[in-house]
């Protein structure tokens, strides 16, 4: 039985038994190689669900839609490993009750797709610990290495080229499950810290602040990178910040529902090499 059929059956059963009120999954998109989110609230709608290696978006952001979980009913959601990590973060930051989320987990490698056993986020604890252990050895990225070998001036020019393209559409923010603030800092104008105009200066400020607010929280799902209409390689900044959190504070974002946010905690012996 294909994983698609298997998961459809499971989704149908969950809805039929009334265990969940909604299933968030993937369906066919505007072109054959795209997938879009599908929200099924009855067993009949489940047949629209598709599950294959093209299902890459992190759907966890829909769970924090205002009011969705306030009736304490459960919602099932299709999630890749990064998505499961986002659930941990959202729970750790008190944005949702993880017990209300039924995870339909899966993992892809190339065109292969394989199910991940479990339902509650706690069932995946061991799996995520393994992920974090593998991450430690494989965190280098050729483009980041290239950038780091440049002079600051060259790096500035690289980002100047990239950020000059930004049109401040805020699609990156909209697509990110971790950007759940009702009122984003760029929308606050008393005082206005960040230039809201889409000139290069304003774009630098916006992208720097967004990267900073996601440091140690980003799970590198790539939603923002794919959403960006002008293809700014946001993944590079996100990756660099994740490496920083890991190397400096041994923090792997989304390890557990009780993990302390890296910038809201500290150790008295945190490293400091640059303070005069």
């Amino acid at each position: 039985m294909s994983i698609e059929v298997q998961y459809r059956d499971r989704a149908k059963e969950l809805l039929a038994k009334g265990e969940v009120k909604l299933v968030i999954g993937y369906g066919g998109g505007s072109t054959p190689n795209r997938r879009r989110p599908v929200f099924a609230s009855s067993p009949e709608e489940v047949d629209r669900l598709v599950l294959d290696s093209l299902c890459i978006a992190n759907l966890s952001g829909y769970l924090v839609t205002e009011g969705l979980l306030s009736d304490e009913k459960k919602v099932a959601v299709f999630l890749r490993p990064e998505g499961i990590r986002s659930i941990n973060i959202l729970a750790a930051e008190n944005q949702l009750n993880a017990d209300q989320v039924v995870i339909l987990g899966f993992e892809t490698a190339g065109s292969d797709i394989r199910p991940l056993e479990g339902g509650n986020v706690l069932d995946f604890s061991e799996f995520i610990v393994t992920l974090s252990e593998n991450r430690v050895v494989s965190d280098s990225d050729p483009v980041i290495d290239k950038l780091e070998n440049m002079s600051a001036q060259e790096r500035f020019s690289f980002w100047q080229d990239e950020f000059s393209k930004c049109i401040k559409c805020y699609a990156c923010r909209q697509a990110c499950p971790m950007c759940y603030c009702r009122r984003c800092i760029v929308d606050c104008n008393q005082p206005q810290w960040i230039n809201t105009s889409a000139h290069t200066l304003g774009n630098f400020e916006w992208n720097i602040i967004r990267a900073f607010h996601l440091a140690g929280r980003c799970v590198e799902c790539g939603n923002c990178d794919r959403a960006c209409p002008v293809n700014i390689p946001l993944r590079l900044v996100n990756r660099r910040m994740a490496v920083e959190a890991l190397n400096s504070f041994d923090h792997f974002a989304g390890l557990s529902v009780t993990q302390e946010p890296v910038l809201a905690s500290f150790k008295k012996d945190d490293t400091e090499t640059f303070i005069l």
């Binding site: 600051a152 500035f156 910040m241 500290f266």
Partner: protein, 149 residues
């Protein structure tokens, strides 16, 4: 001949330690470079990275962020939180290409008037050697240019 370049430096300091240290430097009649503009805040924990961006936006060539030594924070652990934040923000700025030499961090207690005066002098000389932050100033100028029709 062109005038000697005078760097603009903005210092964000906490009121309990570094500001008091600066005060001590003043009352001890220590002389230090007049290039620094101090912004006094209740605690290093109150110094948001957005302040640094704002200073750059307004044309600063260098920035200093300073507060109480670890363990001395008036609010017990504001500076520990700040330290983590700086660590991350510093590497972010570096990755974006804003030289780490232009944004400095220090711990200066209320008793360290001499350290304060000396640090301001060293930083001013260092930033003077680096020259104006032309790359960033370029971005600022662009915002002031007239729209082409």
């Amino acid at each position: 001949m062109s005038e000697k370049f005078e760097p603009k430096i903005v210092a964000f300091v906490c009121t309990y330690c570094t500001y008091a240290g600066a005060d001590l430097a003043g009352t001890s009649r220590l002389k230090y470079a007049p290039n620094v503009r101090m912004v006094r805040l209740p605690c290093t924990g109150r110094i948001s990275p957005m302040f640094i961006l704002k200073a750059l936006q307004k044309g600063a060539d260098g920035i200093l962020i300073s507060g109480c030594h670890p363990g001395d924070c008036h609010f017990t652990h504001g500076n520990y939180h700040a330290r983590r934040r700086w660590m991350v923000f510093r590497s972010l700025l570096d990755f974006i290409g804003i030289p780490t030499d232009r944004v400095k961090y220090s711990w200066i207690s209320a008793a360290e008037g001499v350290k304060f005066a000396e640090l301001i002098n060293t930083i001013t000389e260092e930033i003077r050697a680096l020259g104006p932050f032309t790359q960033y100033h370029g971005l600022i100028e662009e915002t002031q240019s007239q729209a082409s029709l």
